[in-house]
């Protein structure tokens, strides 16, 4: 189905259901889909599982979603930061679940979901707390842990530019998790700074082809 161009972030996040697993792009603020998170807060879906590298910074964006009590569980690599007080308080109060996943496994498990891989043997975290209880196997003299895909019902990602077919390009290290998350969710929603005519993005430079992108909305700040 062709990518839907939305006039507003509220239109872009319509229909996200309670209990959804939501992949949220960004590494710190780079690539963070701030407008979409704000729209999700207005939209009201609750009991969410959020998959993201961090667990919110300051009082806005993901932190604000957490503060509203909409998130049941966070799957991330690095929740604890200087300004992660919203998450910290919820966690210490036992009001939010946490699954810590090594950053590369977080990316690779989402890649597996998008690539139709059922599970994979990974050397990361062998012998550590984070792989306790997981199946292991020795292959060619090295020990690996079996890791399973992480799938999203929805992905919210930030990109730099889209064309009208939903082809996306990113900018510098804001690329980070966006391209992987775009492959791993049933409904993929991208906020971008600019929407150009189809044909204006060089086909050699497309990072996320439109096949992965369901809805696109232009950032409010630049609208």
């Amino acid at each position: 189905m062709n990518t839907q161009l939305c006039d507003h972030a509220d239109e872009a996040v319509a229909g996200i259901e309670d209990g959804s697993t939501v992949l949220v792009g960004g590494f710190g603020m780079a690539g963070m889909p701030v407008d979409l998170i704000d729209a999700l807060i207005r939209q009201g879906a609750k009991d969410l599982t959020v998959v993201s590298n961090n667990a919110g910074n300051g009082d806005t964006g993901l932190a604000a979603l957490l503060a509203k009590g909409r998130v049941r569980k966070v799957i991330c690599s690095f929740p604890r930061q200087a300004d992660s007080w919203v998450f910290d308080e919820l966690y210490r109060a036992g009001r939010i679940e946490l699954e810590v996943v090594p950053q590369g496994n977080l990316a690779e498990r989402m890649r597996a979901a998008g690539a139709g891989i059922g599970a994979f043997f990974c050397p990361t975290g062998v012998g550590t707390l984070l792989t306790e209880g997981k199946e292991t196997r020795e292959i060619d003299g090295r020990t690996y842990v079996l890791e399973y895909p992480i799938r999203g019902d929805v992905a919210l990602i930030g990109a730099h530019r889209a064309d009208r077919m939903g082809n996306l390009v990113y900018r510098k290290t804001a690329r980070n998790f966006g391209p992987v998350m775009a492959t791993a969710a049933t409904t993929v929603i991208a906020q971008v700074r600019e929407i150009v005519e189809t044909g204006e993005i060089d086909p050699e430079t497309v990072v996320t082809p439109g096949i992965y992108v369901d809805r696109v909305v232009k950032e409010a700040a630049t609208a």
Partner: protein
């Protein structure tokens, strides 16, 4: 992304006609491809489907050697050795195209992101098993290409084939005797004599061309269900 399914209730202008030509079959498949679908057309006969897609179909063609929004075959003067389809035929690029490497291309297929693939076949079984890569002949050199990946990867797998071999043997069979490409992967079979949907209840004949359900039932060794009212 999920392609919205076009209604099958309109049986179209081909219904009741005699056996279909390859071009008629291609037109029939093209008519059933929903607006905006992402589609992979196999090497050979399925390639013809592209010629029958309306200009405003919004259908995006994938080629497994690393491209979305592939255009028609290149004409004299457009030939570019760097731009071919999976059959190594020079093709062209449409606006909105994207290139990617082989691992990404097959991740796209295997991950279930293509709406439809259309493939040829030696045999299809009553439960949708597909045999299309190997005749099983002892001196044959096996060569599979991307067929197994496509068979299990696309959301819908459509087969285009004649219903009988030149020698008259049915190609829709109780069980494939040729080596399999994929298990229970075919959703619909377009043939010169009829269209069959593979359903949990069995093979359903949704259209016939110059023959009848009863005649087909006589000639095939598989149970057939009539089209739904």
């Amino acid at each position: 992304m999920n392609a919205t399914s076009r209604a099958m209730s309109d049986q179209g202008p081909l219904n009741g006609r005699g056996p279909l030509s390859k071009n008629d079959m291609a037109a029939l498949v093209a008519r059933d491809i929903p607006q905006g679908a992402f589609v992979n057309l196999g090497i050979g006969q399925p390639t013809l489907v592209a010629d029958h897609l309306p200009a405003d179909s919004g259908v995006v063609l994938h080629t497994e050697n690393g491209m979305l929004n592939m255009g028609p075959a290149a004409k004299e003067g457009e030939l570019d050795p760097d731009l071919t389809n999976a059959g190594k035929i020079p093709v062209t690029e449409l606006p909105g195209a994207a290139y990617f490497h082989h691992a990404d291309s097959f991740a796209m297929m295997r991950g279930g992101h293509l709406d439809i693939c259309v493939m040829g076949a030696f045999q299809v079984s009553a439960t949708g098993d597909l045999a299309n890569w190997h005749t099983g002949a002892p001196d044959a050199i096996p060569a599979v290409g991307g067929a197994m990946d496509l068979a299990i990867g696309a959301k819908k797998v459509y087969v285009m084939m004649t219903l009988f071999t030149k020698a008259g043997a049915p190609k829709l069979v109780p069980e494939c005797t040729y080596p399999l490409t994929g298990l229970r992967c075919v959703d619909r079979v377009y043939t010169d004599l009829a269209v069959f949907d593979v359903t949990p209840q069995g093979l359903r004949v949704t259209q016939t061309f110059g023959t009848t359900l009863d005649e087909l039932a006589d000639r095939l060794d598989v149970p057939l269900l009539p089209a739904e009212a």
